[in-house]
Point group: C2
Chain length 144, copies 2
DNA sequence: GTACTTTTGATGACATATCAACTATAATTG
DNA sequence: CAATTATAGTTGATATGTCATCAAAAGTAC
């Protein structure tokens, strides 16, 4: 098999893993009790009030079961509250608490700095090209 | 913050996740009882006889604890055997069983096909450029 | 030769991912 | 209106990732 192919997927894996570890380290250093993914979930809820958990899962590209568990943890951390939905008893309203709002805001500059550092010396054109390339992989791997 | 930056990391994450899910589906379809990562671990042992678990962890870019657990599962699946190391009682010899050898061989064409499909319509130059880009991210995110 | 440091690998506890199965509720069909 | 189908979310079991801690054994320093 082509060595380059195999090395590419390994590098893809390593790059996102390295970025996530780096990003999480910075968040921990800032003394904030949240993971990157939890923040993404909270951000999703903030950006789309009245969002369903299914929709959150799609937005952040995660399994329904994982999202349920993450929401459970966010409730436990008091960043989120579950309320009964007004009209649909299958659903919950997910309300970001004041504590949750504060955490979202506190993390934003850390994440901005993380991304800036991660993309140091990479041009907008290179970033755009890379995105197009990755989207092609996503397209190629979709189930029929 | 730059929207493009944020979208890039999301796309990076989504692309590797989509690839892994696709690749695992193909392995399952082929009726082979192994995960991509388990295969990588086995392959590492095959390529470097007498390798230590620490070295395996570095090769496949995984946590020591994760590698220990994966090896435990590979032993349980009878793809691997642990033997006492000849000269160093802290270590084990990891022996690939016949069953393990067979599985490694059986998976290779599936993985080759997976990669080929994932990289459909992407040129060698694009692949090479992407690798260089991703390696820059890895470099940027390394601990000091 | 002893004390100290480093290495090797395991384990516990917790978080997340995956797959499958489940319950309750809403929507649709005839 | 009742039966059926679809949706929303949960839960169990298992695999992997992370962090911290541990014990045993090898290596190093004096």
């Amino acid at each position: 098999m082509e060595k380059l192919d195999q090395v590419l997927f390994f590098t893809l894996e390593k790059s996102i893993k390295t970025y996530r570890q780096f990003a999480q380290r910075q968040i921990d250093k800032a003394g904030i009790d949240i993971t990157i993914d939890q923040w993404l979930v909270l951000k999703s809820i903030q950006d789309w009030p009245d969002i369903s958990q299914h929709q959150i899962a799609e937005n952040v590209f995660k399994d329904f079961a994982s999202v349920t568990r993450m929401i459970e943890l966010l409730v436990k951390k008091e960043y989120l509250q579950r309320e009964f939905h007004k009209t649909d008893r299958r659903r919950f309203n997910l309300i970001i608490t004041k504590k949750g709002q504060a955490v979202i805001q506190k993390v934003i500059p850390v994440i901005t700095a993380n991304r800036k550092q991660a993309l140091k010396s990479l041009t907008k054109a290179e970033i755009e090209n890379n995105k197009v390339f990755l989207n092609q992989i996503i397209e190629n791997c979709k189930p029929e």
